[in-house]
Symmetry: D2
Subunit: 358 residues, 4 copies
């Protein structure tokens, strides 16, 4: 992952960012892969955004269908089209919602033309290429990895603001890392179990029987209990936060599917290796998140509904009998994907971080 | 908890059990506290049972209402009445579904008249009286504690069969103990996190805003994350299974409410203190549950729906990257309460253990 | 549709029915098309049935998969196989759950070998061939139409009992016709609007985005508001019940999808052409359904949940301000499909009508 | 109901409306009865509104609780207080969400002090006092009835803009009248059946067992099938739209409860007394709603989800086989209550009609 200093001066001068800003001309944006849940919401948020202009929505199928026909609850009247190179010359920025693996070459094309890119896929999230390849297969644009910034503004706001390619975090990593960052920075995570629950939209669109109503309703079960792709992402980022000599020894991550559409809750159970009081925990989390516009530390267990259709993350931390317990609730499609993508794009464009997100 | 040998010969001779059995006369049963979810289901299961006769359903309110009016999906046409002492002389057995604390005196009255009793409350679940009193308040019939048997047939079938008072386990303890027993017996639980999810019926009837549809739907959140009453029950029973010198050092239990009616899943994350292979786990669970009529060990994550409206428990055990992972799914109203109550009563009456439960 | 008298004496002598009956040998049954919701439930009900033996479950795909693996909540351990002619020689009866159009040739093959058949498709429901062809296309076995009996026992129990081929009614027709029969027989339906609501399982398995969880949850909408295939079925059967000169002038049928799995409610709004009192309505419905084992006339609006997982139909009739209002609730998979199929098969085999259905 | 001309000149000069408007100072607003679902949403919408300032939220219980604590998904940080007369001097307008009957005296007090009022109760909806009293009991402020305007802007936008007291329509009347207005105005409704479906929030907060999760989930049933209070409201307004000599002869209205939180669908079945083509229907609805900001005429059956959390109404009209079919979907809490209240208040204050509603 790059920090701002790694960008060449040439790129700097190419940046389309200068004239943008509140009250200025709108930044022109393309959303690629707009038929899926996260792409469609990214398009909708861009459409409603006061400082962005949604120029085109593209998809690999469904060309000619207006997006508000595919999703009647959305307003975007633009017709889906195939991604044309000519589109790329009409915009300053793109949000890409392609499947893992398919995204990298498209992003490379966009970056080659100087676009600012927020990529919703996993292709640029992991710093460690072998780990990527073990979980996702061959990488389509490994050269870009170095310049990509992991787009969790609460962790690295300045790097995002200076970035030209942002890898938008996975939904589970977003919630898990926000839940655990204050502990990780203090070296207070010796061992952690993350039991995660996600609404069905987290699985993506068109998954057949696995996400059919009759399969999911009145049901809860774990899935991919061993080897889920979000585990290495969480582990890598938390490792990067931990002080030397206080590495995390054990990290278990198990996701569950729950019968609702949008929402995600991670329940984190941490052994700190020493006694930690509630007062110390309160202090740590207040320090970390006191000024954050989208993170609220609560004194009651956060519910998925409390943050639905918002870019907010609600966190509670508790000194349990034997372990520290941390809950974090987000909307998997908003803070876990498209809302955070807009938050990142706002920062990259020098806009107010929360523009278009309230 | 008593084993069979502790019963006096006098009690033995009073037992109404002799003439009962498949094909024999039906055992006459009263269900006390039949307006709540577990009491009503216990009544319904008794009503449909080939070898039981439901003689009376009682409740502290709602007298005069037929049970199938209060719950149109049930068949029991009997009217709810107040519990009269004369009722107790007409039956051989009772299932009691009173609130914690309110149950003990009623059970004492029933036991004084020689009835076999399955008590769904917590009043006789804990062997340790101080622990009971810390979580539930003063105990109304401490003298009976010694003779009560913890009614988890998969653990202590013979004791249940010989018992006259059975304390039906809590729903979370049922799933958790079934999930962990094979590990506990081998001393393989050094540290365990139990993340539990329950459908709304587990909260009981008539709980106001907390269980209103608009509160629960599209929502998941933890509740009572520290100090839930089922934690000491789980801890006591697992401690009783563990070999000397291999006590559980840390047990975290956190329940969550999920938006469905009936169903419960516990996800257990165990540190064994040593490497344990999948083959060893498979062997352990096969040994424990190979012959159990109501427990199935699966090779896929069990779902709540798979066991809905049944007395079954589905369990999967996995050697995870860092921990052993065990999932157990039950229907909280069936195996977690009323189904298990009938299973226990079947054993106490010398009937087929599964009678009336398929 | 045939009545019993139309069957030839030759067919009579071939009937496998003689040795069957409660306490006798079990009737051997095959379920064809067992991967869909109705076929799977028909198999499960047959498996649990005290007087039936489930010999084979077949499907056009998925061969080799045990049915209780495809549906973990079911018990049937038999593996799905392709339908072989040799299977047909091993059974006395079959329940066929093939798609409309695909069913007729299979049924013809079975009938040619003397099997009793209950067909869950629409292929033999309509007496009027041109109507069938307008809604479903060419008919694969029109010769069998004459001998088929419409399998709504509450209407024509004797004909079903004597039939060798029963056309199991559609789910909406089952509820609608049960709701309206007492009025139709009296010529009290001048004009009727049927607003129907169905759970998602009514749409069948594997319907893609239309029945995806994220499409259906938090949603209600009509579908096929004009021209639904069940309208002619309802119209034909009600017309057959109406006295001469009192034909139904107008019949509107509109189905809606509601966010639950199993359940169906039809709300029927009837203009009678004359004043009808509540007392007259009560009398009519009591007369029609007083002795019916599976129909209950209620004095409160029936709910889908009241009849879930049962073969029951709950009906309320009301003299409204301007119209007669009739509600009927069934479980679309049970009384609306597979439960009724077993009810029909029980009658055809001379068994107790409710065997295996409680 | 008054039209603008009926207001006295004295009242006119008192109007606080002059200085308000986009870009001007914000209008100060109080929301009374903010603990219920509609009051809380009205407060939230006011809080987020660019041209309104939420000055106080009051309730008859819960004083001292911040609204965003009672509803964690809302942002309003104001604490609930009892309604004090001094509050009324600090605001120009009020939205009142009191129960029927309790509202009238509070509204009278507010009107006496010159406040603009939008009343969410039924107290000022009906022009006919005897009808009101038959359904709701004695009226607390009958003198105000004459000056009240029925707040359905699509029907009487100018009257709303000139009103000082607006009676916000019921949720069912909103959807039903929007669905049927184009037909009523043409005298095309001879007979109509309205089958309505509502999410659970429509029942209001804190209704006990009737709206408990376990009662409502997996269930659909009618309620108050005869004599629902919204029927006379619908009938009165449609009668007012119908040309002389073309009165509606029969109007049946039956509401159903469906298992979701927010959403409402009315399915209307109309006999026109003559043949009406789809082309004529399309023309009528396009004429009526072509320029309406919140009404969309669709060519597919509208779903509740399509309009969730919006002030929109989606309508489809179809020439059915025997009847005209009209569907209208709204969010019962938005267009059916609080969103429409803000729409009305916007008009009364001279603001953009859609301000704060997108």
């Amino acid at each position: 992952m790059a920090d701002a200093g790694q960008k060449s001066s040439e790129e700097e001068t190419d940046r389309a960012i200068q004239p943008i800003g509140p009250g200025g001309p709108k930044a022109r944006v393309l959303v690629a892969g707009a038929t899926g849940y996260t792409g469609a919401l990214a398009a909708e948020l861009t459409w409603r955004h006061p400082d962005l202009e949604l120029v085109a929505v593209t998809a690999r199928s469904g060309a000619g269908t207006p997006l508000n026909r595919l999703y009647p609850r959305y307003e975007v009247p633009l017709e889906l089209g195939e991604l044309e190179l000519s589109d790329l010359d009409r915009v300053e920025a793109a949000i890409v919602a392609y499947p893992h693996g398919a995204s990298a070459p498209v992003v490379a094309e966009m970056r080659g033309r100087g676009l600012l890119v927020v990529d919703l896929s996993a292709d640029f999230r992991l710093e460690d290429l072998p780990t990527y390849e073990r979980f996702y297969g061959a990488h389509g644009a490994p050269d870009l990895l170095d310049g990509a910034v992991y787009g969790l503004p609460e962790l690295n706001r300045d790097a995002v603001a200076a970035a030209e390619l942002v890898a938008n975090p996975g939904c589970y990593p977003t919630a898990s890392i926000l839940a655990l960052t204050p502990l990780a920075r203090e070296g207070l995570i010796e061992d952690v179990v993350i039991d995660a629950k996600s609404g069905v939209s987290g699985a993506g669109r068109d998954k057949g029987e696995a996400t059919a109503f009759t399969t999911v309703t009145e049901n809860v079960s774990a899935y991919t209990p061993v080897g889920h792709r979000h585990r290495p992402e969480i582990a890598e980022k938390l490792a990067g936060l931990s002080p030397a000599g206080r590495e995390i020894e054990s990290l278990t991550f198990v996701p569950h599917l729950v019968p609702l559409d949008q929402g995600e809750l991670v329940s984190c159970y941490v052994s700190a290796g020493r006694e930690v009081s509630q007062a110390e925990l309160d202090h740590l989390y207040r320090e970390s998140y006191g000024g954050e516009p989208f993170v609220t530390v609560t004194d009651f267990p956060p519910g998925m509904r409390d943050v639905r259709d918002t870019n907010r993350c609600h966190i509670q931390v508790l000194a349990g009998d034997d372990r520290i317990i941390v809950f974090a609730a987000i909307d998997n499609l908003w803070k876990g994907a498209s809302g955070q993508a807009v938050q990142n794009l706002n920062l990259m464009l020098g806009l107010d971080e929360g523009a278009g997100l309230s």
